[in-house]
Every structure is written in structure tokens, then in C-alpha cells.
Amino acid sequence: MGLFKQITDKPWERTGIIGGLRAEGTFSAPPEKVALVFFLVAASIVFSLFGVSYVIRMELPDWIPVSEPSQLWFNTALLVISSFLFQRAKTLISNGKKIVTSTFASGGVFAILFIAAQMVTWQNLQAQGLFMTSNPANSFYYLLTGLHALHILGGLWVWSKSLLRLLSGAAQEDLRLSIELCTVYWHFLLIVWIAVFAVLSNT
């Protein structure tokens, strides 16, 4: 039954079993995936509210525009590669291919490289004398990049757990969902990063 049909049903008119022989969820997806989608919506609200705050704050008179370091393009490339590798691992495991471990592992490694590169960018900024409190544009820069990095670290925690299980020879079938969810999460963080980058570039 479609969702619309479900919530327009008149429950008092019909008794008896509705549905199949087994209990059915509203969406034909594992609960972990449903929970992840809700989490992603909540996380994107966090980032959008920061984005709105940025735009409002930008219009106040003390705003000093800061041009974004060009290194960010390089960092973005690292994250794109990471996301691509996760997608590749997901495709491999869906097709039942055996050689998934190295792809999955390198996906995470590129994410770690991304965070390292972000930290280098921070240091370069600080070397130029642009600190957290120097001006509001910088405050937002550190805040948004930091928050994004924290989200990646959270993803890496799940990634490392799955990787350990892969390495210790767990059945690939057991890890399929885990790898799929990691991939969804990585794509989400890539989109968020591009949005953050766009917001920060808009000075």
C-alpha cells in the first residue's frame, strides 16, 4: 500500500489482516537505512541553519570578506575520490565480488587525507594571521569546516569497525548493509562539503 493510501485509509471500515503473511515495514528498507535517512535530514538541518546564519551575519557592517584558499579545490578532489571509492566498493559487494577490502579501505584513507589536508589549510590560514576571532568570516570558516570534519570522523569510526570485520574475515554478505550505509553517508558528506564550500566562497 502506498504511503498516501495508508494514511487515508478508514480503519474502522475494515477488520481482518491487512498485508502479507509477515509483518511489513512502511518502507522496504532495513531499519538502519531508515534511521540513517532521518539522521541525514537532521544533520542537513544543522548545516543549513549554519548556512542561513552565515548569510544573515554577512550582511552586518563589520563583515570582512575573506577569499577562500585555493587549496580547498585540492581537498575537494580528495573527498570526491573517497566518495567514488566507496561507491565502487558498494558496487563490488552488490555484485558479490571478492576484491572489496582494498577499495573500501582506500576510500576511508582518502577521507583521512582530506581531514589532514583541511588541517593543513587551517594552519596556512593561521600562519597568515587569520584566526578564529580575526573576523566573522573566519569564525564561520573554522566552525563549518570543523563541524564537517567531525561528521567525517564519525563516519570513519563506523568505517573502521566495518573494515576490521572485513579484515578478520567476516562474511561479505554480513557487511553489505554496512558498506552501503557508509557509501550513502559519504555521498551526503560530499554534497554537504560542496554546499559548505559554496557558502564560504560567497563572501
Partner: protein, 584 residues
């Protein structure tokens, strides 16, 4: 799909039954134990917040007689009372407590889908409570910024607790948001994916609908609180200027420059207004089920009730600026927010009509839960009507800083949800404990609480019209407030002390009945919804014994024509319903 016998579908074996006392009652992953942990903690902090309000009342009512608190302590009490009651008591009790207890039982599940996350949610909540309570112990005490924590005053000298107090408050709120997110993902996913066979969305009891939509609101609104908490923490600790404007503190210019305090207000109320409905929607659901059960009638307009819950939830995100009329805004915005605010009255009034129509010609059983539920209809109508006044910009401006507002929000989101909580605690007490509470004591508790809250809050409306300002430690000398206002204040304080101490009746009742109450049958009210059909009372770990229930009907088959009993449980097939013998 191949036929799978019911017994073989069982996932009972997947549940790890706890063996030691510690895993059963402390580090428990059972939703019912977590619910009681959540509820117990929420009630304890609620008592602390109640005490704070009594301190404030004694100061306001008898400023000469009692010298218990100074102006600083008064502001700290106002702040902590408000924040604890709204977030740490009502939200935690309704969603962490009732959400946890009711959801799996009502939808016919064995537990939440992520029991470990559920346990973690409680421990994070407990941590947030402990952090908050720790602020009473640090130098400077808890923050006295008002529960809205508006910058810049929240962090400036002159506001009590402007150093450690506010930081602990922000940290505690951050931890609370994490706890709520873990719990909330659980409730939402469990309701969507883990319902028993035959339990369609529209067969769910309204309690589950209320909790579901409230949880979604929470997942989407708490991020706004988190965002404002993070930026305010940065302003305070690291010296950024997100919210802090250029400002002089005790003669010294601070380093802040150009921040926007109004931005904080927008973010705070973008959370703050949905928060009202995060509290109200579960209460709406619970009260609907209590009313229907004790009126022996199906809830009137079930589909409308569901859609009203969803509509209220959606609208609650586009009304937030009605809390900020006094801050000033473009008149067109004021017009927009006044309009949306008044539109919310439509689905809300629809719910009230439906509750009243549920009672209409019902076979009403005036048990204690029903007293509280009907009492709720009264207090909610009163609180709701004053909301219509305050939703209009021109009426809000003169009334906003007076006791009229205090009366309004206490009626609508203080007294009303609390009455529902009492109704629900009495109603489900037999299922939770296996014992009946003492009926007479419960009714006494109701009358003192219900009449007492009117004695407290009705006069406050008049004080508001007189222009008595809220948030003031003492009235002082004014021309426009007559001296009799002080007499009214004294009367309110007496009523508050009586109502406050009368709550002990409730605790005596539930504690005494735990041992000495009459043993409860599994379904003492003759209720149709699933939680009353568990094989054990109170339900054991895994809830349903060997076989999960199958659902054949909605949750409101009361007084069905032709049926012998005046209710048909949700898990009873048509063929098993005993009919009255007819001579056909």
C-alpha cells in the same frame, strides 16, 4: 512468498535476556526499564524545578516575610525552573518515558529496533541532567539568564552565573540534543519499520501518532538549538562574535564586534516553538486514548485526529517569530507570523471538538485517569484561548512582558501536559506495576491539583491586564499597579504551596500501591489497544511471549453493536468475537 508458521517467525531467540541484576535494571536495553529510568529521572528533576517555583512564589507573595532568596537567586530559579520543566522534565518524560514504554507495546514489537542506542540515549540524558545540576555547585551558581538564554546579557557580568553557569547549561543542552537524537531515531524507525503484522499506520493508537510526529519535530527542531548552543559557546569561550555585538561590560569595552543577538533569537525560537508541540503532541495522543477507553467509545474523527497532529507539526515550524514581536520586525513578517499562528488554532480546535464529541453519549466511567483527562480539556481550552490573544501583534506588545503570558503558557504547556501525564500514569499504572492505585487518593489528588492550578493561574491573567511585569523579583513602587495586586500575589502563593505539597499524594499513592495495591488484572479498563493484551502483567522482557500478536482491527473498537463485550481487542479476529445471542 512461502508460508512461514507464526511460531517460526519468532525472533524471541534473538533477544539476549539479561541475567544479572545490573544488566536487568542498570545497563538495561529493555525499553520498559529504560522508560522507567527516563521517567524516574525526569520526575526527580521535575520535583527540583517545582521546589524552585515555590521559592519564587514565596518571594513574590510575601516579600517581607520570607528572605529565602536574593534577586540573583530569583533569576537563577526562574531560569532553571523553566529550562528543567520544558526540556529535562516534559520532553524527557513524554518521549523518553512514555515514548519508550508505549511504542513497542502499542505496535506489537518486542523492543525498539536499536536497543543499545536506546540505552545510550538514557545515559546521555542522565549525563546532561548531572551537568545541569552541577551548575548549582560551581562558583557563581547556575545561569540566571532566563530560560531563553538571550545573548548578550546571558554572558555578561551582572547576570548571575555568567561564567560557569551558562557554560554548563550550554554543554548540558548539547548533550541532551545528542541523547534525544539517539532516542528519536529509535522511536521513528521502530514505528515505521517494526509494527506487528496487520498493524497499518491508521490502526495505530493516537498515542503512537502523537509520539511519532513529536519525535520527527524533535529531530528537525533540536538541530536549531544545537546550532545556537554551539555558536554561543564559541562566543563565550573563544571570543568570536556570532551573536555578541560591540558592547561595554562594567566600563570595559569587550573584544566582541558586530554580532547579531536577534539571530540567536531566531535560531532559539525555531527550536523553541516546535518544542511546545514536542511536548503537546504526545500529550494529545495519550489523552485521546485515555478518553476513548474510559468513555467506552471510539475516538471521534480518528483520521482528522491523525491529520491534525501532522498539520500542527508542520505549522509549528512557521510560527516561531511570534515569540519575538517585542524584538521588532518588518510589519509584513509580523502579519505573516500572526496569520500562521492563528491558523494553528484550526487543527487544534478540531482536536478539542473531537475529544468533546468522543465523550458525547459515551458510557463514561469516571475513573481517576478520566478526571485528569477531562480536566485537561478545560485547562487546554483556557490556555489555548489566551494564545489567540497573544498571537496578534497589537495585543501581544502590551501583554508580552506581563503575567498574562506567564498565565498563558503555564495553562497551555505546563498544567495541561502535566494533567495528561497524571492521567496516563494512573491509567497505565496497573500495566506497569501489576497493581491498582488507590482510587480515592487519586481523585483527591486531582481535585486539589485541578482547582488549585486555577487558583494559581486565573488571577495571573488579571495581574497581566493590570500591567504587572513578569520576571521581576519584587514589584517595588509603581503608580499603575494597585496595592491589591500584592494581595492577589499572596493568594496565588498560598494556592501554589497547597498544589505543590499536594503532589505528595501522588507519590504516596504509587509507592504505597506498589506493595499494597489490589492486584491488577491484565486489562482492568477493558481497553482495546495492544499494550493491554500482553500475556504477562507487567510485561516481561520480549513483551509477547512466544508469538508476536497479529492485528485485526483498529485500536478503538469500543461498544461495537452486537458484540457481547463492550470492547474488542486489536488482536482478536472477527471469528473469535463473542456475539450477543440473536434469534435469527
Amino acid at each position: 512468498m512461502a508460508y512461514v508458521p507464526l511460531a517460526d517467525q519468532d525472533n524471541e531467540a534473538d533477544l539476549h535476556h539479561p541475567h544479572s541484576w545490573v544488566t536487568k535494571y542498570v545497563w538495561s536495553q529493555d525499553h520498559k526499564v529504560i522508560a522507567i529510568q527516563y521517567g524516574g529521572t525526569a520526575i526527580l528533576v521535575g520535583i527540583a524545578a517545582l521546589m524552585l517555583s515555590l521559592l519564587m512564589r514565596m518571594q513574590l507573595g510575601f516579600p517581607e516575610t520570607f528572605d529565602l532568596i536574593d534577586p540573583n537567586a530569583y533569576y537563577q530559579s526562574v531560569t532553571m525552573h523553566g529550562m528543567i520543566m520544558v526540556v529535562y522534565m516534559l520532553t524527557a518524560l513524554l518521549l523518553g518515558g512514555f515514548g519508550n514504554y508505549m511504542v513497542p507495546l502499542m505496535i506489537g514489537a518486542r523492543d525498539m529496533v536499536f536497543p543499545f542506542l536506546n540505552m545510550l540515549s538514557f545515559w546521555f540524558y542522565l549525563a546532561s541532567v548531572l551537568i545541569l545540576m552541577a551548575s548549582f555547585l560551581v562558583g557563581g551558581g547556575p545561569t540566571g539568564a532566563g530560560w531563553t538564554l538571550y545573548p548578550p546579557q546571558a554572558t555578561l557580568a551582572g547576570t548571575p552565573g555568567h561564567d560557569m553557569g551558562i557554560l554548563l547549561m550550554l554543554l548540558s543542552l548539547g548533550v541532551f540534543v545528542v541523547a534525544f537524537t539517539m532516542g528519536g531515531l529509535n522511536y521513528v524507525t521502530t514505528i515505521l519499520q517494526n509494527r506487528a503484522r496487520g498493524m497499518t499506520l491508521m490502526r495505530m493508537p493516537l498515542t503512537v501518532w502523537g509520539i511519532f510526529v513529536a519525535t520527527v519535530l524533535g529531530l528537525f527542531a533540536f538541530p536549531a538549538l544545537l546550532v545556537s548552543v554551539i555558536m554561543m559557546t564559541f562566543d563565550t569561550l573563544l571570543g568570536t562574535s556570532f551573536f555578541m555585538p560591540a558592547i561595554i561590560e562594567s566600563g570595559t569595552a569587550l573584544d566582541h564586534n558586530g554580532g547579531s543577538p536577534v539571530l540567536f533569537q531566531h535560531l532559539f525560537w525555531f527550536f523553541g516553538h516546535p518544542e511546545v508541540y514536542i511536548v503537546a503532541l504526545p500529550a494529545f495522543g495519550l489523552v485521546s486514548d485515555v478518553l476513548s477507553t474510559h468513555a467506552r467509545k471510539n475516538i471521534f474523527g480518528y483520521r482528522m485526529m491523525v491529520w491534525a497532529i501532522i498539520a500542527i507539526g508542520g505549522l509549528s515550524f512557521i510560527v516561531w517569530a511570534h515569540h519575538m514581536y517585542v524584538s521588532g520586525m518588518n510589519p509584513y513578517f509580523g502579519f505573516f507570523f500572526a496569520t500562521t499562528t492563528l491558523i494553528i488554532a484550526v487543527p487544534t480546535a478540531l482536536k478539542v471538538y473531537n475529544w468533546v464529541l468522543t465523550l458525547w453519549e459515551g458510557d463514561i466511567r469516571l475513573n481517576a485517569p478520566m478526571y485528569f483527562a477531562i480536566g485537561f480539556i478545560f485547562t487546554f481550552i483556557h490556555g489555548g484561548l489566551t494564545g489567540l490573544f497573544l498571537g496578534n501583534v497589537v495585543i501581544d506588545l502590551p501583554l508580552s512582558d506581563t503575567y498574562f503570558v506567564v498565565a498563558h503558557f503555564h495553562m497551555v504547556m505546563g498544567v495541561s501536559p502535566v494533567l495528561v501525564i497524571f492521567a496516563s500514569l494512573y491509567h497505565w499504572y496497573p500495566k506497569m506495576s501489576g497493581r491498582m492505585y488507590h482510587e480515592g487518593l487519586a481523585k483527591l489528588h486531582f481535585w486539589i491539583t485541578f482547582l488549585g492550578t486555577y487558583a494559581i493561574y486565573l488571577p495571573m491573567h488579571y495581574l497581566g491586564f493590570l500591567g504587572v511585569p513578569r520576571r521581576y523579583y519584587a514589584l517595588g513602587q509603581t503608580d499603575f499597579i494597585p496595592e491589591s495586586a500584592q494581595d492577589l500575589n499572596a493568594g496565588i502563593t498560598v494556592a501554589a504551596l497547597i498544589v505543590g505539597s499536594a503532589q505528595i499524594l501522588f507519590f504516596i499513592n504509587i509507592l504505597w500501591s506498589l506493595r499494597n495495591g489490589k492486584k491488577a488484572e491484565g486489562n482492568p479498563w477493558g481497553a482495546a489497544s495492544l499494550e493491554w493484551q500482553t500475556p504477562d502483567t507487567p510485561p516481561v522482557h520480549g513483551n509477547w511471549g512466544k508469538e508476536l500478536p497479529t492485528v485485526y482491527r483498529w485500536a478503538y473498537d469500543y461498544s461495537v453493536p452486537g458484540a457481547k463485550e463492550d470492547f474488542i481487542p486489536q488482536n482478536m479476529a472477527d471469528a473469535d468475537v463473542e456475539m450477543e445471542s440473536k434469534s435469527n
